[in-house]
Amino acid sequence: MRPVAILGAAMTKFGVSEKTNLEMFAEAGLEAIARSRLEPRDMEALFFGNCLGDFEEGQLHMAPFAHAELGLPVSAPATRFESACATATVATRHAALLVGAGVYDVVIAGGTERATKMGTSLATRTFAMASQAQHESAAGITFPGVFAMATHLYAHKYNIPLKDLKRHMAGVAVKNHSHGSMNPKAHFQKKIDIDTVLGGMMVADPLQLFDCCPFSDGAAAVIVADAAKAKDLIKDPVYIAGMGQASCGPLYVQKDLTRVLAREASIAQAYKEAGIGPDDLDVIELHDCFTIAEILALESFGVYGFGKAYDAATKGETTLNGSRVVVNPSGGLKAKGHPIGATGAAQLTEIVEQLRGESGPRQVEGARIGLVDTLGGDLGTVCNIILTNGVN
């Protein structure tokens, strides 16, 4: 594989949008292309993420329409990726694999989602479609339900009183909302406190409203290019140092939900390719779809031992200017929002900006190595991308 760079990266504001999926993707995509000092006609392929367009807008096969919105040449194929919440990360990884293999020199990857259009009831139904249909979603499991079951297992396995665990989980929400308050692109830009989290309505015991990320609308895109050409285009490309992706089956195959086996396999690939380990990470954008999910992720990465990450946020170890590693400076899925088909590209956008020193009040000082972590479905897909700014 030849070295691969990310040039421009961009995202729309996340939240509730009146724009169509295609309009949002065009905004993010054209901005990413412009930031790369390129034109749409320079794109050789589109790796397009969208999960639920058929339910949101009655639109299947959205990729060629996104291609037309961006004004890409007919010779550039547009392909849709769907890996539930990990969609855009998986699309970007495949873009990078083909650029690395020399098939393309410059491509665009990303995704768009308009989840709020569906309303909570249909959105909950469609998200549950990413659980195994015959045995699991038929039993009425929901995404909050999956992570709720993981929370009970975690409390039991590590012998932590549920009340204490929930207070520490609330600390994750407080931290990520605090970060989100500094992000003008975030769905929620308001700080919250522990009492707000612990006073929220119950969604799936023991997860309350503020343990959960919102349904959001938004789009994000990145330009992936041959690293040898990147310096000619922009002064500060960010390089892909390592990638990983792994898959696991339904919940009944996974058994102990506190161990995200797909993530453990994915991050091992990414560390190996990058030649780094958990202590080398300066900044992490990880998949905090629920507060417990951030805790599980930090343990899968080896940043913390198993059963040890639950109080990282309350101890101030993962906050901006905290004592260990900055986790979700963008606000994470929790505060920045989670338009599922776009999320991974937005995480990449945050890390690219962090590594360029462009993050303003939420800048992680001196960040050199950043990790993107996106989880799809009920722990069935995990994709990781490690980025570096090439500064030693």
Partner: protein, 135 residues
């Protein structure tokens, strides 16, 4: 490669109160619900078998915000069956308000109930249930 025990056969078993799975002739592990391949060793040398229908709760949740077409609250749980596999289903003989961490480790008996199909999943489906009291 013929599928040894289809979902349809598994469903017919549930209808008759039987919990049909597969026994791997290569490594002796039990596969439930049925699959094409042994998850432990990859063998396709599998023989249909009937499970005891006993196990213990490993985790649970109470769904309070439900998908379209479902009436919350209800309990979803995972149990470890005596033969080794884990299964997901509905705990049906406890009021959701009573469910707490005390459930973890409790012995349960398997059963099934029918979940009506909806616009997207058109078949009615037998879904596993767990009961704390032996029938």
């Amino acid at each position: 490669m013929e599928y040894k025990l289809t979902f349809n056969h598994y469903q017919q078993g549930l209808e008759q109160g039987k919990f049909l799975g597969l026994k791997c002739n290569a490594c002796d592990s039990v596969i439930f619900p049925p699959a094409a391949v042994c998850r432990e060793c990859g063998s396709t040398d599998l023989t249909p078998t009937e499970l005891s229908g006993k196990g213990a709760i490993r985790t649970f949740t109470v769904i309070r915000v439900a998908p379209e077409g479902r009436k919350p609250p209800y309990i979803v749980a995972m149990a470890e069956l005596d033969e080794g596999p884990w299964a997901l289903g509905n705990l049906v003989d406890m009021a959701p308000e009573q469910a707490d961490m005390g459930l973890l480790g409790k012995r349960v008996t398997l059963g099934s109930h029918v979940v009506k199909g909806d616009t997207y999943a058109t078949d009615d489906t037998h879904v596993l249930t767990f009961t704390l009291k032996a029938p």
